[in-house]
Symmetry: C2
Subunit: 203 residues, 2 copies
Amino acid sequence: MNNPLATEVLEQSVLPGRKEQILSAAARLFRKKGFPSTTVRMIASELGMEAASLYNHMASKQELLKNLLFPVATAFTRGMEKIMAGKGSPVEKLEKLVLLHVELAMKHPDAVALILGEWIHLEEPDLQAFIRMRTEYENSFKKILEQGMNSGLLHHADPDLAVFSILSTLHALPNRLSRHPGISAEKLKSELVKSLLHGLVRN
Amino acid sequence: MNNPLATEVLEQSVLPGRKEQILSAAARLFRKKGFPSTTVRMIASELGMEAASLYNHMASKQELLKNLLFPVATAFTRGMEKIMAGKGSPVEKLEKLVLLHVELAMKHPDAVALILGEWIHLEEPDLQAFIRMRTEYENSFKKILEQGMNSGLLHHADPDLAVFSILSTLHALPNRLSRHPGISAEKLKSELVKSLLHGLVRN
DNA sequence: GTCTATATGTCGATAGAC
DNA sequence: GTCTATCGACATATAGAC
């Protein structure tokens, strides 16, 4: 990881410093209004300061986006590595992946929400780096699905389409959480596993 | 419908006039770069003209977004009404809904892609009107799911979460199509039905 | 209907006082 | 570390010639 702030941001210390406050406000605004429509004046206003003062804590607005997206992407990558290296059947690994998405979405709803659409506003070379991380994550996901299909635990289906289908839902989780708050991670995970893995139609 | 262009746009005449060319270029750019980051100069440039000339065919950039989003929303609403009024079991209706999303995503990938995230850039009162249409669509979707659960055709599950899960995937369909082109609508629909309705895990 | 020229506003970012 | 003041770039949209 090329960003020393990553763990700091995601572990969200109890007494956030100015940098953490700025990132938090930026995440909320980027999510609500989109990155290009969010002005540095808005971010400053959320913290009761002037726009110029922000530049004592950051280099640019673009840096804020980068420092939100990469810690999230790294957290997903680390989670995937841990799950792939661990024991368990492919089905159990898929359940762990669902839980990973649920937990990160609950812990950092605004930052996680940005991976749905705001990553397109990254500038090079960060944009390519981000896409690369996403592709690797999807490939790992597909590998687990293929293992499940080859071992007979899962029905045979187009693995690319299955990855797309499951990840489309998991990426949208922050939207779901903001509309229906107060659900537990375990409950949400088990409902998602039912819907995503076991299907709705009765046999 | 308050917009006389709607059917015209979605039916995409074989010899598109200037207005249709502008909407088509705008949709492609709004999708690729986002609405706020797309400039009217870019749209004009795609058609080999100057930005000022665009204003002979439109009132504002905002109007372009509106004239792309509402025809799409209306097409989904009309499709839903037709399916709900028709015959068939809840499961068959769900399959028809999947096909509706597949066909609209294939016919108008750029415009349909905008309903994923760009609708937030609508201005009032259009924003409220759009959200209302979306909520009604989701309620109809939920009603069909509940009918399936009550009649024993579907497993009992949280209907709100099921709607969220299925629609998250269907809304992302344009992304899937741009990455894996060349698939037939019927093939894509049947794979999605397998993945979304029947589940992956073998019993 | 398209052009050049421009009005008007806001953006991200910097300079320099305190 | 926060402020006021401001720069230069670029945005949407308009005016008016052709």
